[in-house]
């Protein structure tokens, strides 16, 4: 796969009830990314937006965002998955040689729609949805229990992940204010309200408002735009079976396959040693451990033994991850942006020193039915 460069990015500060209109927020993200890269509207050749009709409460949610998203008279389209999948489409468009600059933006305002009810719309309407017992809440409970039962992991070990990510997010100025807590303890997490036993409130990534934008360019153009491009050198995306009963919930098979593919393309033999930092989309604290295991960063069932703090063996989610704010349709995109920040050395306050190669992931569906993984490498000097 040829190299594609990330040449600019921008993210609006996450908020649980943003003092923004929808269009203004999108404009601010896209315009900000263009300004940071020093580009003009006429440089844009394609725009990939990422929104969801059910999250926005309107059919054809990209219909009225053409102008604010920079899509006027450009090759515009919409991916209705996670923001990370939108980056994939931008990547494909650049790789095809048809386009020179792709703008990818994604986001939504969780304060404007009933999040859990909308997630229920993902389930089988001819069977499970009628009883509404399978939804994102209960699925997380099943997943955590399956993981704990299979490997004998305790709730404390999972709560530690929540503590780590929420502490990290306190250093990230763009994270959701509600998630930032530098003094959190494991007991606080375990004692918070039950969400779906054994998952507790503080182990859950809280949906919030936010938009993020990313600019992609082919190798030659990228070097003209910036001295410090971040290269995408590998990508893999896979979908697993739908019914929870068909799957082994103690692992995330879609990520196992996606990881294998992405590492294969990027030529990574031993992910544990070759990767410096990981930004994973963990919708729940336990998913970070499962994802790390699925990616082969640590042995199956040994997730908690890995030191993933900033400055640890392999820092995971130094920005706070999705637990530091989960704007639907943007979270995966923000993970890629955060990984790029680490590689460019722009992560003020949560920088992992000497990061040369990073991974970033995205997911959609119950228990991460569809996952995507990127391998990013530092370019320039």
């Amino acid at each position: 796969m040829e190299k594609v460069g990330i040449v600019g990015y921008n993210q609006v500060k996450l908020s649980s009830d943003a003092n923004y209109g929808r269009y203004e927020m999108i404009f601010e993200a896209v315009r900000g990314a263009m300004d940071k890269a020093g580009l003009k509207k006429k440089d844009i050749s394609t725009v990939i937006s990422c929104t969801n009709d059910y999250y926005d409460g309107r059919t054809i949610s990209n219909c009225f965002t053409v102008e604010v998203g920079g899509g006027y008279m450009a090759d515009e389209t919409k991916v209705e998955m996670d923001g990370a999948h939108a980056v994939l489409y931008g990547l494909m468009r650049i790789l095809s040689g048809n386009h020179k600059l792709a703008v990818v933006w994604g986001g939504s305002m969780a304060s404007c729609f009933p999040y859990h009810a909308t997630r229920l719309f993902e389930t089988d309407p001819t069977w499970e949805r009628q009883m509404a017992l399978v939804n994102d809440v209960t699925a997380s409970g099943f997943q955590m229990r399956a993981y704990m039962e299979k490997y004998g992991i305790s709730a404390e070990e999972i709560a530690k992940v929540a503590v780590k990510n929420r502490k990290n997010s306190a250093k990230n100025p763009l994270a959701l204010p509600e998630s930032q807590n530098p003094n959190l303890t494991v007991q606080d997490v375990l004692n918070s309200d039950i969400y779906a036993d054994p998952v507790t409130e503080l182990m859950v990534a809280q949906p919030c408002d936010g938009v993020a934008a990313l600019l992609l360019a082919p190798e030659q153009q990228a070097l003209k735009i910036t001295d410090e491009p971040v290269w995408i050198t590998g990508v893999g995306w896979y979908q697993d079976a739908y019914y929870l009963g068909d799957r082994d919930l103690s692992t995330i098979r879609s990520m196992e396959l996606a990881g294998r593919k992405a590492f294969d393309i990027a030529g990574i033999k031993s992910p544990r040693n070759e990767i410096d930092v990981a930004e994973l989309f963990e919708a729940y604290a336990h998913e970070e451990l499962i994802l790390a295991e699925a990616l082969g960063l640590v042995e199956k069932g040994k997730g908690p033994t890995l030191n993933t703090e900033i400055g640890g063996d392999l820092p995971i989610n130094p920005s706070g991850g999705a637990l530091g704010g989960n704007p639907p349709c943007a979270t995966g995109l923000i993970r890629i942006i955060e990984a790029a920040k680490q590689l460019r050395g722009e992560a003020n306050g949560y920088q992992v020193s000497g990061a040369k190669r990073a991974i970033a992931s995205g997911q959609i569906g119950m228990c991460a039915q569809n996952s995507i993984l990127y391998v990013l490498e530092k370019g320039g000097n």
């Binding site: 003009k40 509207k41 899509g71 006027y72 008279m73 304060s111 404007c112 729609f113 009810a117 309407p125």
Partner: protein, 181 residues
Amino acid sequence: MSEKKTYQKTEKKALEYVKKDYIKTRTLPGAWYLSSYTYKFDITHMQPFLKKLKDKKLIGNRCSGCNRIFFPPRLVCGQCLVKPDRWVDIRETANVATYAIAYLKNPDTGEVEEKPMVLVQHDGSNTCCIAQMAPNINVKDMYINMPLKVHWKGERTGGLMDIEYYDVIEDASKDLSSKKE
């Protein structure tokens, strides 16, 4: 329209076609409650415009990139991806950019009424917006580029409803070839 032929003889709505019937299986219900959604809009950029409406003044904003003038004012100029930054006065006269006729049942009488749906472009602006026509207008007389003028409401409150409707004014170009279709 000078002469609109009346073709219609019957009231049948559907045409007949070759149909194939399929086995009917049971259905299960579902609903999408848009009432539990909110739509957030930022109208900060609209405030000067709304305030001026009270004084019977029309203003639009102009993009310095492409010099297009937007009425009503816009948040972002899509062509240049910047916020329009200058205010310009807009005239009270306008013309019909395009129109269509809706056939609606009057809930009181049950009769089907013809209602015009008009897009109006103000002189001096580059955009058109949806507008209300004078109640006495005959929909059959409408044509594209028909000149109009704002009819203000007696008491104005600072909203688009201050423009009560648009009056039809005399068409100066009526004798020219570009008159109605």
